[in-house]
Subunit: 446 residues, 2 copies
Amino acid sequence: MSSSAEYIEEYKRVILPSTISENEDKVLCKGDGVWVWDEDGKKYFDAASQVSMVNIGHNHPKLISWTRKYYAKAAREKIITSSINTDCYARSFLTVDGERMEISPPGLQRRLAQHTFGPENTICFPDVTGALGANDALRYFRTVTGRPYWLTFEKAFHGRHGEARDSSDSNPIHWNEAERDHHAYRLPYPETKEGLKACLEKLKSLNLKVFSYLLYEPVQGEGGGMRVGRYIKEVEDFLKTEGVYSISDEIQAGMGRCGEWFGYQALGLNPDAIVLGKSLGVIVPVSCFVLKKGINDLYNFPHGKISGTFPGYNAGMAAANFVMRIYEEEKIVENARNLSPEFGKMLKNAIEPYDILNLHNMRLPSLKVDGIGLYRSIKFYDKNGIPDPKMRDLVNLKLRELGVWTYPASKSFPAIRFTPPLVSTQADLKFLTDAIYQATRILYQS
Amino acid sequence: MSSSAEYIEEYKRVILPSTISENEDKVLCKGDGVWVWDEDGKKYFDAASQVSMVNIGHNHPKLISWTRKYYAKAAREKIITSSINTDCYARSFLTVDGERMEISPPGLQRRLAQHTFGPENTICFPDVTGALGANDALRYFRTVTGRPYWLTFEKAFHGRHGEARDSSDSNPIHWNEAERDHHAYRLPYPETKEGLKACLEKLKSLNLKVFSYLLYEPVQGEGGGMRVGRYIKEVEDFLKTEGVYSISDEIQAGMGRCGEWFGYQALGLNPDAIVLGKSLGVIVPVSCFVLKKGINDLYNFPHGKISGTFPGYNAGMAAANFVMRIYEEEKIVENARNLSPEFGKMLKNAIEPYDILNLHNMRLPSLKVDGIGLYRSIKFYDKNGIPDPKMRDLVNLKLRELGVWTYPASKSFPAIRFTPPLVSTQADLKFLTDAIYQATRILYQS
């Protein structure tokens, strides 16, 4: 048995199953920029960016170098590195490449404020995982409004714990479907005009005074396979007239993924708060609830309502501050913006013979490109136009062979997500889309 | 305004309030072993170990050195450092001080198994925060038993998110008391024989077939101010005959805090699973759900039920593996075990004139030492024997002056917790208890 096979065998014996595919037979050991390697030495383009957690690429030289400087300073000057920041104040400073960085929650707020609600209007609460950040946001709005119910969308995914889980429309993550919290009310996702109509009709049938907020993904990544919420703006505007706030879940869609800093900006939305995660920390878990000031007086929100052991922890603040600075210095968002339209076209060209628009009436398998920015998917339909996960799995397997690392969107959902690192070049995206062209050829044979 | 005062002013303006005291006026900037420093250069003995997250002390030389080696190897060989491990397998190796360490979830399992249920009988699921680890455990047992209800104790604290929050008996963490999940049923904590009797009576009045497990803290840290569950064993034994499992929350009580590796061992308990957090990661958030094998067939537990973005993330596995090795090499638990009885005596001597046993009938303020191991508290009662938070706050303030860093247990609870780092020496504990002696003198004057 190979060393990787032995490892996987041991892993399955001693670690409870999570979401790693039961058929997975590779073990990754190396990552450099847009590339990852398995233990057999095979190299792959990371077309998943590990589901948007590695937007700046693997082992970004600055992130690793500054992290090394951080721990070198800890060894030398004993700056505080333990995971404290909710029972006491703690901060440190690190001068790298000519800038004296303040490693602290306000240090992070200063950077985030520039790209969200502005320096004077941005309140933050850094937490650890995206779900926890979402919970903080949801608890904030429920507390300050006193309204117990909230709105989410069908096929939403916001995380696996607490209110974020209750907001998600995904069966496996509930211990038992009957046990859901029924304060989350699900609306049709306004991807199309018809969706918008259905959504507004539902809303008009409700007593909206009991709802505190709408939680949305600008683009539905996990559950929707990159459905774009093109008409969320109309829903948001309608709800504002009823005193219902809105929160944009930017855990996957944010941090440049949609071609702007945040998904809500790419779609021209107007949320009262956003939630960040994933690519904010890259090497360690960091999330952030970012709130527009003036929504409610900050001091109405009681002490102790949101907290925890690790919110604002030092190594997390270091990583997030470093990542934000890398975004700024390396113009990560600009690169994503520049590549976005081209990437859409390249994907469409790669699947051209299967394009759903061309072939839908010809009774051949058909494929459809969805999403925006570098946040895309290809969806697979059989010759009757029925979603076909088998086609998806075949193509996914072939992509692996061709050196492209991807994940199917979910067990049943007929999509492969393509979320290349935002530091990709046009040549990288050509490598990827050439592979997609080749991989989809196998559908002729099946 | 001093730089610290400016920082705190900015913090309050831009960061939502968590559990930092509204009166806190110090900013920590340096930590070395058992000591921390504020920005004015004042040095404190960390008698809180930042609420048991820094059991091995601040900036432990091996932890910082090995972490530096980890990132140096990342720079050199591009070992994978991004936060992946739930959608694919990833591991790395690092040779430090003659040992080739496997940085991976099974690598952590191997170390934890030695000290819990044994190499052949230990299943793990690493997660990020203690609350998330508890949620994983709770979801596991609810899923495999199919029983919707569970048991917890009055004054319990298990975390602030999801089922862990529902298990906690703490008002401020619920957005609204009326909105609690009522599947968690609260029992009297069996601290005393009377408590045990009350607990068993409650249990006998219930249909236990609907309960999946009992979740307990061996010692109630947060809510109970170090109440010791001396009779949990009897409750656990009784429940086992009814098919109700038990889970020990070792987030604070574990990792040597009670003088043994885990609190359940210090009290001779027999849980089916434990949950770790806090001191398992020290510099980054890492938790772990540790399950006794054979409880249920592992493969009955479906894929996708527990997962997330960060469980098993690489930097977390590095930190937890390093920490476990430091515990082993430096005999951290043995040191805690050796210091434990002496620490209890020293605390009792320090408050002797106020000892509740001596003075209760004399109508003077009285103090009581609670807890076990290096997991202790002093509780404050006025001359009528009524819990007195004001006395507590006076003593806490005086301790700060004397160079001791502590936190009150909660706004209303009349205790100060003393959880010195497990790397303390007898001299350190003498410094601490001398300060306590001095600080409690002020009660004469009030």
